[in-house]
Assembly symmetry: C2
Homo-oligomer: 202 residues x 2
DNA sequence: CCTACCGATCGGTAGG
DNA sequence: CCTACCGATCGGTAGG
């Protein structure tokens, strides 16, 4: 792995764990095993490093999500989409934490990113849900846009804080580990609050 | 308002908006209109200030929640509880942001706080839900503990980031403002994923 | 990728 | 509640 990639990996982890303001350039350099000025040769400033960390996350996002959502929009399988979306965050909690921190720390920047990368897909999904409503496949009182936002929020935030929640939601031999219980209940809530009764049973 | 209370008010707002590491003691002193050493006369350190900000939040919590949850546990009206819980955070988004930041920044501390203040109530609610399951009032595949954690997470996180989400979830003359749409859909999702069909309709 | 170094700001203290 | 001041650390630069 190149030095640049190694810097990005450690920066991503540390920003996710401690936040941008809670992480010094020195700390990242130490983790990589180089001196601070060496790091600042690869990334001109701490801010530029952050931009690159975010850009890498968005790149991964854009490589995975379109296929995921397009499949759903052709098959009308929203629950599968939500499952995959949840999977996307659960497989790497740092991604969820980073996303959540960026939303809290730089709401204006995040708004711009959402407008560019997320709104088109939310609108696509919402339109599908709207049509499914007309066919009575989903519940009549669903607010499609709001529903999608709620489920994404639940997936991102739930995953970001899940390891802290194991004190409330302990491992249970009958129900599985904390993460499993979170993932399963999230999917169940998303699904059973969407479909009409004669559709939702499986 | 006393100086101490004024310091706490501004600190709460600034910590919620910018995070603990992103807020300097100087900045808080400026907001209050006093010098930095004067602030540090009232609170011996920045850390002690943070502890007091959190303590104030928990005090408010403990003053409001018990009545809320006890009412629910006697009346078996879980949706009303969730509605009130949501209301609690929505009426002051700073509270939700502070809570979320503290969970991300100091997971170990938050675990201890959850164990002391939240677990008893979650267990009480879960036990109620478990009994309601046996009576077939709520859906059979609900994981009560996990359900409560999901709904709380959705309420806290959803409220914390709601103002950033208005780019995805715009004001809509037919459906109301961003916050209204969030609050309504949250309640709808929580309710319709809980009750059995012949119960949930109203 | 390093050593050496910079001004600015950090949380905090002494003393009144 | 203030002025004056402290050592440590911050992000960043010069120069090799």
């Amino acid at each position: 792995m190149g030095v640049r990639a190694e810097i990005l990996t450690h920066a991503t982890r540390l920003f996710a764990e401690q936040g941008y303001d809670g992480t010094s350039v020195q700390e990242i350099a130490d983790a990589v095993g180089i001196r601070k000025p060496s790091l600042l040769y690869h990334f001109k400033s701490k801010d530029e490093l952050r931009e690159n960390v975010i850009a890498e996350m968005l790149a991964h996002w854009n490589a995975v999500l379109p296929g995921l959502l397009l499949k759903a929009s052709t098959e009308e399988r929203f629950d599968a989409t939500m499952e995959a979306l949840t999977e996307f965050f659960i497989e790497d909690p740092d991604r969820a934490r980073l996303f959540l921190r960026e939303t809290l720390d730089r709401p204006e920047r995040m708004r711009a990113m959402l407008a560019d990368f997320v709104t088109p897909w939310v609108d696509l999904l919402s339109a599908q849900l709207e049509r499914a409503k007309e066919q009575c496949l989903v519940q009549q009182d669903v607010d499609p846009q709001a529903y999608v936002v709620e489920v994404i929020t639940m997936a991102v935030a739930g995953t970001a804080v899940i390891d802290t929640m194991n004190v409330i939601l302990p491992d249970d031999p009958a129900r599985g580990g904390t993460r499993t219980r979170h993932a399963r209940e999230l999917i169940r809530v998303a699904r059973s609050s969407l479909y009409t009764n004669d559709e939702g049973e499986k």
